[in-house]
Amino acid sequence: MDDFLLIGGKKISNRFFLGTGKFSSNELMRKAIEESKVEVVTVALRRVDGGGKNENILDFIPKRCIIMSNTSGARNADEAVRIARIAKAAGMGNWVKIEVISDAKYLLPDNFETIKATEILAKEGFVVMPYFNPDLMDARRLRDAGAATVMPLGSPIGTNKGLKTKEIIQIIVNEINLPVVVDAGIGRPSQAAEAMELGCAAVLANTAVALAQDPVKTAVAFSLGVQAGRYAFVAGIAQEKNVAEASSPLTGFLQD
């Protein structure tokens, strides 16, 4: 199936995006990326340790991958903008996942600050992919601020609870003419497939892969799950119904 996702002028065939935190080793993370043929990975600038004697996470990411720098650790728009600029200057490219967390207890994204950062960075030419609490009006504000995609959370980060925000995500998919990437909370490949069946453009996961018993196989499973969900969406899957429906026509008696 010739079905590419186009973001920032780049064609992406694997719609499963992978976060690079929480892995027990950089080498394991590299294998997970390789085996699952992931093309887009997020890397938090806070973890990039270049120039010293320590391992540098960037050395474990295949050259073919698109790196989306992550503003993890930013508590407001100003910090997110600074992090994005430092990441770009450090050679991490101009794709940025804006993650602004001003509540360290629940780690829920701060939409207000995220919108502000999106506007500033989009004007500077970044390909901005904001992570946010799903809300239609905020999705519109992000779009108008210049976001390349919107990335609503499926459920609170790290919980593996799946699409708890399904209803709102469906509305965003219907109303926002931008790729919708479900980010956070996806715990199983079947949940990733479910997001894709809704019409989401891609799924981003980290915890569910990094903490699996076999992260490499799990990354492959997610890749396949996302692909299956995408195929189903493109094919036009049958709708769920609450009651059985007669296969014989109910209006067969009408002659013309």
Binding site: R46, D49, K53, A104
Partner: protein, 386 residues
């Protein structure tokens, strides 16, 4: 620059802030019959609390109870799962750097206390730079600057100079110094500090007065409110703790939890972490009134992990290598490695005596190997000064 840090203190939060002080909050929540709660809790009550996703302060005595200690495996399993979920298979590493060991206080339990006849020194600018270079050459990126507690010998201006040097070699800088005023914290933050470590030692005011015979540290409330002043000044992270052994350790842990809870609700954007140092042998020869066994120590740590899923747990080299290793999967998220507690210890530029004896003298490489053996990744960098 200051404006940037005050950004967080938006009017919204100022209005929302309650008028209650940290001390009032802790006291209001500590008016409990602890001994009864600790001894009469049933296994069903314990299971009920362990089943909950969000645990309140009123549940904490159940996790600190005798029955919880007898069923510590249940606590360990829950703590392990929570830590894995929220922090992943990583352990962050840091190291302390002692700039000086002068002190104006008389803390009965501390090797640095003013009356102790030990070699005192303060690194000058070039010695300090040498020390910073020596430590960073070992791969350490997250440094904790310690100065002893003498405002006269190591005034805030000296600390700012130290930070200016450190930021050339490290990506994250925390301080563990005498309590400062809000504006002084802001000056250090502007210089490049992102974390504060300050320990109340004990939350029992009577014991506190007994333990701190002389010096500015006798002011219980000034120390208690130091983390709040740093939060007001815009600090990113705060590590708190009680020195286990000075008073009833379970009560101290309960009040530490109340203190963290108070600050979390007032400053939700700040990353809080805790440390549970146990008293170690000192040059002064102090022996603790309360002995905290490994099992009790582990229970206290697990109880706090379950209560605060996303709060970091720091573990210093006060604890031995085996215990540190065993606690990796149970909640510890940040460890010191290759630590020297002597002034000038890394560059060997005229050493002094250390603040406490180190139990884990493993090299950084050995600590990394241990972490890897446990199935975790050692991480040297988790923030960089913006």
């Amino acid at each position: 620059m200051l404006q940037r840090h005050l950004h967080h203190l938006q009017d919204f939060y100022r209005i929302k802030m309650t008028q209650i002080t940290a001390n009032e909050f802790i006291k209001n929540n500590s008016n409990l019959d602890f001994e009864r709660l600790f001894t009469t809790t049933t296994i069903n009550q314990l299971n009920g609390v362990l089943f909950l996703e969000h645990i309140s302060l009123s549940h904490l005595p159940i996790l600190l109870s005798k029955i919880a200690l007898e069923n510590i495996e249940l606590l360990a399993r829950k703590a392990h799962n929570i830590t894995l979920r929220d922090f992943g298979k990583v352990v962050f590493l840091y190291a302390p750097l002692y700039a000086a060991n002068f002190c104006e206080n008389e803390c009965l339990y501390c090797g640095f206390k003013a009356s102790n006849k030990i070699v005192r020194r303060k690194l000058d600018a070039s010695e300090f730079k040498e020390e910073a270079i020596a430590l960073s050459a070992k791969g350490i990126r997250d440094v904790l600057l310690l100065s002893g507690e003498s405002r006269v010998k190591t005034p805030p201006e000296y600390l700012v100079e130290c930070v200016n040097t450190l930021k050339k070699y490290f990506s994250s800088i925390s301080i563990e110094v005498y309590p400062l005023q809000e504006l002084e914290y802001a000056q250090l933050i502007n210089a490049g500090v992102d974390g504060l470590a300050i320990y109340q030692e004990t939350y029992d005011e009577v014991v506190y007065e007994k333990m701190h015979k002389a010096g500015p540290k006798r002011d219980f409330l000034y120390r208690l409110n130091a983390p709040e002043r740093a939060c007001m000044a815009g600090i990113r992270s705060v590590s708190m703790g009680a020195l286990l052994g000075l008073s009833n350790p379970k009560k101290d842990v309960f009040m530490l939890a109340a203190h963290i809870l108070y600050l979390q609700s007032k400053f939700p954007w700040v990353d809080f972490s805790f440390s549970l140092p146990r008293i170690r042998p000192q040059s002064g020869g102090y022996q603790p009134d309360h002995i905290v066994s490994d099992k009790l120590f582990t229970q206290l740590l697990l109880a706090l992990r379950i209560m605060f899923p996303r709060v970091g747990i720091n573990m210093s080299t006060r604890e031995n290598a085996q215990l540190r290793k065993n606690l990796i999967g149970l909640g510890v998220t940040r460890m010191s490695a290759g630590s020297k507690t002597e002034v000038g210890g890394y560059a060997s530029c005229g050493k002094s005596e250390g603040q406490f004896e180190i139990s884990d003298e493993s090299s950084i490489e050995a600590v990394c190997s241990t972490i890897t053996e446990c199935g975790y990744a050692p991480v040297f960098k988790d923030w960089q000064t913006l």
